[in-house]
């Protein structure tokens, strides 16, 4: 299981990477491993407002359907359209090609409330 040191994490197993005022969000390697084969993701359209730790979409695996939680507040600027035809990309490359959404961040300070890689690792290995 891989946990990238330079990312921030939620308790619900999303990761976030801030680049300027745009953040990229996905689910962690741990999450994809727990979910198993991912069949489908339902993501919001660009322009949709999201709030920190509120659901922004759903992810469906062979085993179960789960909600996706936004690590940060802001506005969706893009959703990963490549996942529409093949959501298993998330299984193969959760931190890269398998990203879910890009958000125009409202308040970067919100990042402070998220878990560091170290804290996230502690949580999932506990």
């Amino acid at each position: 299981m891989e946990i990238k040191p330079d990312l921030k994490y939620t308790k619900e197993h999303e990761w976030i990477k801030l680049d300027g005022d745009t953040a990229t969000v996905g689910i962690t390697d741990f999450a994809q491993g727990e979910l198993g084969d991912i069949v489908f993701v339902e993501l919001p359209k660009a322009g949709t407002a999201v709030a920190q730790m509120k659901p922004f979409g759903t992810i469906e695996a062979v085993k179960a359907v789960s909600e996706l939680f936004s690590p940060i507040s802001g506005e969706i600027v893009a959703a990963n359209s490549a996942l529409e035809s093949d959501a298993t990309v998330i299984n193969k490359d959760p931190y890269g090609e398998g990203w879910l959404i890009k958000i125009k961040v409202k308040n970067p300070k919100e990042l402070d409330s998220l878990l560091t890689a170290e804290k996230y690792k502690e949580m999932v290995t506990a």
């Binding site: 198993g36 084969d37 069949v39 489908f40 062979v62 085993k63």
Partner: protein
């Protein structure tokens, strides 16, 4: 030549080959059907001789897993053996060839059967009235919620729109609530895997329409505080719905109505031994306390006296929520369930539940040292293991489930209930013998040993089935079961 597991019947087809010559139709073609709806090409029926059809389906039945072939400990599904006498009864021409529009006078036997079956179920459930219409458990749930709605509406208590459901519930419960246009309030189970009275009290408000509860719950545990749970919900103005999925543990021992439930559904296709697992048909009869009877779906069967003899007829109630199924429900399933109940009788049904509980506890006792048991102690008719210990060795519950197939055993329910990580939910049912339970236990124990000594063997399983691991994501996403030339 490429060996294939088994071609489809369409691939076995040869133009002009026939099993049975059919006579020319003597029904004139309907003229009303406009051109645009008429088929332009011949229907692509497979053409095969009787022997090829027989061989094809016998081979398929051997490739498949079924209760006639091996153990089927699929938790919460009650895959018991379905006695063949049920089939014999359902095939009697008087039942099998009955048209739904047959006059009451010509269908007295069928009406009597429905009347008596409703009565038996009312007795087993401790309720006042039963509808046989819903076609499965989830439809029974929806019907039950609509009955609750009718009850609250008649009392002008329209602000109630919330249903409380524990986090161990079957997914159909919240889905039925959403279909009924209500909201689900989920409450976390207590540390003992049962409803937490504190959490329940916090969730009860003036908007509580009722609570849906499975008892025994999906962890195979009896809700020991059930009397208090029912009291609290009733006091708050809500009604109690019992998901009857696990009724196989209660028959003749406890009546849901006596516990305080107002509504209960019966999975005739599970508890009362009618075939299921192939997608249906099922039957999810719903029983209610007397005060809800007027709202039950129309029609129901009543018995009157006519010229000094019993007479059965359909009856309708103006307050009814309406029909939930065409005609009178899945009648063939009702005949099978009726036969099962009549064959076993009162004592036999109690023994079914006693043996279902005994079998589950025997199996649990045999495997409990090999796997983590998240909720130890005695179970009811099923129990849940966790594959946590095996996960630490890099073997997942899915791998264990797949390896069981090599032993000729259907995998248990995996990854459910959701509150147990790496869950394996096991329900052997009462129809397995001691020898068969030992075989299953030995398989579980051997697999746990293999995880320690040869984990790759488990991770690559199954090794002996006609096909190995399938692309489940593709199957879920691009399901296409039509034949294309």
């Amino acid at each position: 030549m490429n060996p294939v597991v088994e071609p489809t019947i369409f691939e076995l087809s040869s133009p002009g080959r026939k099993g049975v010559p059919l006579p020319q139709t003597d029904v004139p073609e309907p003229e009303a059907l406009s051109q645009e709806f008429r088929r332009r090409s011949e229907l692509a029926w497979p053409e095969a001789a009787e022997i090829d059809v027989m061989r094809h389906f016998v081979r398929l039945s051997v490739l498949n897993h079924h209760i006639e072939k091996g153990i089927y400990p699929l938790g919460s599904c009650t895959m018991k053996y379905n006695p063949k006498v049920n089939e014999q009864a359902a095939r009697l021409p008087g039942f099998a060839e009955l048209h739904p529009e047959t006059a009451e006078a010509d269908a007295q036997g069928a009406l009597k059967l429905m009347y008596e079956l409703a009565g038996f179920l009312a007795e087993i459930g401790g309720v006042g009235a039963v509808t046989l219409q819903p076609s499965a458990g989830a439809q029974g749930e929806l019907a039950g919620l609509l009955l609750m709605k009718a009850h609250h509406s008649e009392r002008k208590d329209k602000k109630r729109n919330q249903i409380i459901i524990p986090d161990s519930a079957h997914g159909t419960n919240p889905a039925s609530v959403a279909t009924a246009g209500w909201e689900t309030v989920q409450i976390a189970s207590g540390a003992d895997g049962r409803v937490s009275l504190k959490k329940l009290q916090e969730a009860l408000t003036g908007r509580t329409a009722g609570m849906m509860l499975t008892n025994p719950n999906t962890l195979g545990l009896f809700e020991k505080d059930i009397l208090e749970i029912c009291r609290l919900v009733h006091e708050a103005g809500g009604l109690m719905y019992m998901d009857g999925a696990n009724l196989n543990a209660l028959m003749g021992i406890v009546k849901p109505g006596d516990l305080g439930f107002d509504i209960v559904h019966f999975n005739l296709h599970k508890t009362f031994s009618t075939p299921h697992g192939g997608g249906g048909p099922g039957a999810g009869a719903v029983g209610v306390k007397k005060f809800l009877e007027p709202y039950l779906p129309n029609p129901r069967v009543e018995r009157i006296e006519k010229k000094g003899k019993d007479w059965y007829r359909f009856t309708e109630n103006k307050k009814s929520i309406g029909k939930v199924h065409s005609a009178f429900g899945n009648f063939g399933v009702l005949v099978r369930a009726y036969t099962y109940i009549r064959t076993l009788g009162t004592e036999g049904l109690s023994e079914v539940s006693e043996n279902a509980i005994l079998n589950a506890n025997y199996l649990l006792a045999r495997v409990k040292d090999s796997y983590e048991v998240p909720y130890p102690g005695f179970c009811q008719h099923e129990f849940v293991l966790s594959g946590n210990r095996q996960k630490a060795q890099g073997v997942r519950t899915m791998d264990i489930a797949k390896r069981l197939l090599d032993f000729g055993v259907h995998a248990p329910t995996a990854y459910f209930p959701l509150i147990v990580p790496e869950a394996l939910m096991i329900e052997p049912t009462e129809t397995e013998s001691r020898e068969s339970l030992d075989y299953l236990a030995d398989a579980f124990i051997q697999i746990a040993r293999e995880v320690e000594t040869d984990p790759e063997k488990v991770k690559k399983a199954p090794h002996t089935t006609p096909v190995g691991r399938l692309d489940e994501a593709k199957a879920a996403r691009d399901l296409d079961i039509a034949f294309h030339k």
